[in-house]
């Protein structure tokens, strides 16, 4: 099939960007979106032009590296997929496809479609862990039974891949879904419960410092999240933050 691409070109963090148009022919429906971008880049190199810089790594939907805003949606039109798992059969012959980087003050553009998401790392560093040493001399793994339901729910929250689609999608660039998923995972498990109160305060603080916007409960993040992380995580974090601020000394 034939496709018209309009792709964001931006030289560096402080340069102005603009959309650039490229025609693609003989696109196969079995190609992933990134493979289609590979073909475009291959052509650009052969023509002596600079290819588009975009982030990608595992290409199987789990590393969370790929990050394109395609046709007005994070990771494009599919549901529960990342850009690398989005296939060209999701588009129509002759369609015009807009490709942009994630846009958020907390995710500055590095080049073209590549953004800097280290703000997410700093939020995890603020408290997204259990303060346990790695000596291995902890208690036996089976010494605390965890209700299957809690373990499953914690797992669901833990499946967040940190891609930033929630931020990219949210009209306010809010990182609540990302932060709340980690807060939820750890507070649902007895191992993480002990410090859940300090954790939520510190992580929310860091989130605010990074310049993410506020959650206005539009629910767009949940819809666009490639891993289907639920809004109940946000509610849980709201609850935990409220009780933690009221009870912290």
């Amino acid at each position: 099939m034939n496709i018209t691409l309009k792709v964001w070109r931006q030289k560096g963090p402080n340069s102005l960007g603009a959309m650039e148009t490229h025609k693609m022919t003989e696109v196969s429906g079995d190609m992933s979106f990134l493979e289609m971008m590979d073909v475009l880049n291959d052509r650009l190199v052969r023509e002596g032009k600079e290819p588009f810089a975009f982030d990608h790594d595992c290409r199987e939907g789990i590393c969370g590296t790929c990050s394109m805003f395609i046709n007005g949606e994070a990771h494009g039109p599919g549901r529960n997929v990342t850009t690398c798992q989005l296939h060209m059969r999701s588009f129509k012959d002759g369609e015009t496809i807009h490709v942009e980087p994630w846009r958020s003050a907390a995710f500055p553009v590095i080049k073209d479609l590549t953004v800097d998401r280290s703000s997410f790392d700093r939020i995890i560093q603020a408290g997204g862990y259990v303060s346990v040493n790695t000596s291995g001399d902890t208690q036996d793994a089976n010494s605390i039974p965890i209700p299957k339901h809690d373990a499953d729910e914690a797992f669901d929250s833990a499946t967040c891949i940190g891609c930033g689609a929630c931020v990219a999608t949210c009209k306010n660039s809010s990182a609540m879904l990302f932060v709340s998923a980690k807060v939820s995972q750890l507070s649902l498990l007895p191992q993480g419960k002990t410090e859940s109160s300090e954790r939520v305060l510190r992580m929310v603080d860091q989130m605010d410092i990074e310049g993410f916007g506020n959650c206005t409960n539009t629910g767009a993040c949940e819809v666009e999240c490639p891993k289907g992380i639920s809004l109940t995580n946000i509610a849980r974090m709201n609850r935990e933050f409220l009780s933690s601020t009221l009870t912290s000394k």
Partner: protein, 665 residues
């Protein structure tokens, strides 16, 4: 002379005695010692976190935009540990034995036993970190079984075990970063090792955003940079997975062990077109419930290929469940190398079921029925229809492998609940790697390698769910202790300056290489060469190898390398974020490593594990080892060119296990 430094004493006491006897660095001195850890996968993140926690100053590098993205994240099925929670007779010894046997008797007994000993602690550690492993209704941990073993010892978190374990290690690393004990350098790629007075004393790294070439010094350097499967271009590795760090270390004096030992994973989604950039794995855990087959008759194969018949149209007796037929004891759960070769054998014989003839079926129909029948009983449904049973069974399978089925559908546009999956083997893991001694140190003093980057534990074939085990064992429980033995000499060294001539020279060399690539007046994109290298490797150094092909491959790779330097075009600039340049420097190393792999495969004229030489097979086509001549580790020393590498042999001594022809029948 290679000294593997395996401690004396009975096998089961080697590790604990060694730990008791190795030198330690006291806490006050650790503060004055710097360690660089390259890579943030399971081995790297856990090592960096543990070393920082012990008090060392750690610098951690990853080329990805965040340490959480390392490719360990993509491991699906699970992690082994000899906890024996299932009471099925598992033990440290059995895990050790299975691993040595699975590796076709080409791994070190002492290392593997140590791995089995610490395996239980890994699970304890991960649970304590908040890793949400799958649990049973009683709240205790669940297990599943994996290929090559007869117990259920695999702990898992749906089909995302690697992700959960990596996020656990990442959280431990993040904790140390927040304490200032680890300096994290995202989007930094190691370009070379710097050696001073024969010891590794730092690295040259490239800041991938600014292009700046940086000097980092340390008292020891730890490489946890994963495997080199991307030498094949198409593999289940991530696009960025590369061998540059280990190859550069090799060129600086670290011996490279068993480079030809690559694992071809039997259950991957087949190639769909020439634009294909990577292959996707379907977890081995699927072989717990899926049955692998091809049609018995060629006419059915034809009919399926031209679309006049579908898989589900074939009756039971028209199907050849070839693994169950050939290996009744292990059936669909034979080790990976065996399953892969069996698939290749059928496809080469003309029974492949897709258009390219390179695919077999992985069928869940009988699992649907089996689970459905159990569900019917537990739910107390009377006189269920067949459809009801199947639907209930589908639900059970969905709860176990839902994400894998979704992924399959996403990629192929086929619904695996309705029709069998099509799978074909693909390059997945490399057992070879930098040669390390018992302390995980390479032949360059102060340069360590852990995880997939070293060679030590898996012999000629890795069992499923053992890579995660090894990565975390090395990072959490082995390296943090053994590194002290080396660093004990460095407590008075003081900070290593980066303005020495050695750093000058290493930096200059890196800069020269980069500018040569950038300024090369070629016209061909990097990927073009990578694809061609991949094709040579896959066809001539893949699932089956022979002398003729390997010799051809070596010449072809040498020619391709020449052509690469003559014709490659690397667009953009060196002082900027430039993914093309990253690919080019990595490919330059693969183009040398590929040759080393072929040379090693040529030298090892026996078959063992994942390394299958056509010249060395049993009457019924199984891998035939030559223990008399090849019970050793091939450790290659770089002497100026891949083809001139010098072979050193580390004899493998089996005091506790009797060497047998592996049989899964």
């Amino acid at each position: 002379m290679l000294d593997s430094k395996i401690p004396e004493g009975p096998l089961a006491e080697k590790w604990s005695k060694h730990k008791d006897n190795i030198r330690l660095v006291n806490p006050a001195n650790k503060r004055h010692i710097d360690i660089i850890v390259v890579g943030t996968g399971l081995a790297g993140a856990s090592a960096a976190a543990s070393l920082a926690e012990m008090g060392y100053n750690v610098k951690s590098l990853c080329f990805q935009d965040s340490p959480r993205r390392a490719h360990s994240i993509a491991a699906q099925g699970g992690i082994n540990a000899s906890k024996n929670y299932q009471n099925d007779g598992d033990s440290v010894y059995r895990l050790f034995y299975d691993t040595v046997k699975g590796g076709d008797y080409r791994s070190r007994e002492a290392n593997v036993h140590r791995l089995a000993e610490v395996s239980g602690s890994i699970i304890d550690q991960c649970v304590a970190q908040g890793v949400p492993f799958a649990r049973e209704y009683g709240g205790l941990l669940d297990n599943r079984s994996f290929g090559g073993v007869q117990v259920s010892r695999t702990f898992y978190a749906k089909g995302q075990t690697g992700q959960q374990l990596l996020l656990g290690a990442y959280s431990a690393l993040s904790r140390q970063i927040s304490k200032g004990k680890v300096e994290m350098l995202n989007r930094h790629e190691m370009m070379d090792v710097v050696k001073i007075d024969g010891k590794a004393r730092g690295i040259i790294a490239r800041n991938l955003i600014t292009g700046e070439i940086e000097r980092h010094s340390a008292h020891a350097v730890v490489l946890c940079t994963g495997g080199y499967g991307n030498a094949f271009y198409l593999s289940t590795n991530a696009m960025g997975s590369n061998a540059s760090a280990v190859w550069r270390a090799h060129k600086k004096g670290s011996f490279f062990a068993n480079p030809c030992f690559t694992q071809i994973h039997p259950t991957c989604i087949p190639v769909s077109g020439h634009y294909q950039s990577k292959l996707t794995l379907m977890s081995e855990s699927l072989r717990n419930d899926g049955r692998i087959w091809v049609p018995k008759s060629k006419s059915d194969v034809e009919a399926i290929r031209n679309g006049s018949k579908k898989a589900i149209d074939l009756k039971e007796d028209e199907r050849d469940y070839y693994l169950e037929r050939r290996y009744p004891a292990f059936g669909n759960l034979v080790p990976r190398d065996v399953a892969s070769r069996a698939a290749k054998e059928r496809c080469d014989a003309g029974y492949g079921v897709n258009k390219t003839g390179q695919a077999v079926y992985l069928d869940f129909a009988s699992a649907f029925e089996r689970y459905g029948k159990t569900e019917v009983l537990t739910q107390g449904i009377e006189n269920p229809t067949h459809e009801q049973i199947i639907n209930l069974g589908r639900e059970v399978v969905k709860s176990k492998y839902g994400n894998l089925f979704d992924m399959y559908k996403q990629i192929t546009d086929d619904n695996p609940y309705e029709t069998p999956m099509m799978i074909y083997p693909a390059v997945h893991y490399t057992m070879g790697g930098l040669w390390v001694d018992y302390n995980l140190m390479t032949t360059v003093p102060g340069l360590f390698a852990a995880g997939e980057a070293n060679f030590s534990d898996h012999g000629a074939n890795r069992l499923g769910a053992s890579a995660l085990m090894q990565g975390l064992a090395d990072g959490y429980f082995v390296l943090p202790y053994t590194i002290g033995d080396y660093l004990a000499d460095d407590i008075r060294t003081g900070k290593i300056p980066t303005n020495s001539p050695e750093f000058d020279e290493a930096e200059k060399q890196v800069k020269d290489e980069i500018s040569a690539l950038i300024n090369n007046n070629g016209d061909t994109p990097v990927d073009d060469f990578h694809r061609r290298l991949g094709l040579i490797m896959w066809n001539k150094c893949g699932m089956a190898r022979n002398e003729k092909h390997l010799k051809e491959a070596i010449v072809e790779i040498q020619e391709l390398r020449k052509e690469f330097y003559a014709k490659v075009r690397v667009s953009g600039s060196a002082d900027d974020f430039n993914p093309e340049l990253e690919k080019a420097t990595r490919l330059a190393d693969f183009l040398e490593l590929g040759e080393a792999m072929c040379l090693d495969a040529l030298t090892r004229s026996e078959s063992c594990g994942g390394h299958f030489r056509d010249e060395s097979q049993t009457e019924d086509g199984e891998a035939l080892r030559d223990d008399e001549n090849f019970t050793f580790v091939s450790a290659w020393e770089y002497t100026g060119a891949p083809s001139e590498a010098k072979l050193h042999k580390e004899p493998l001594v089996y005091d506790n296990i009797e060497l047998k022809q592996r049989s899964y029948k």
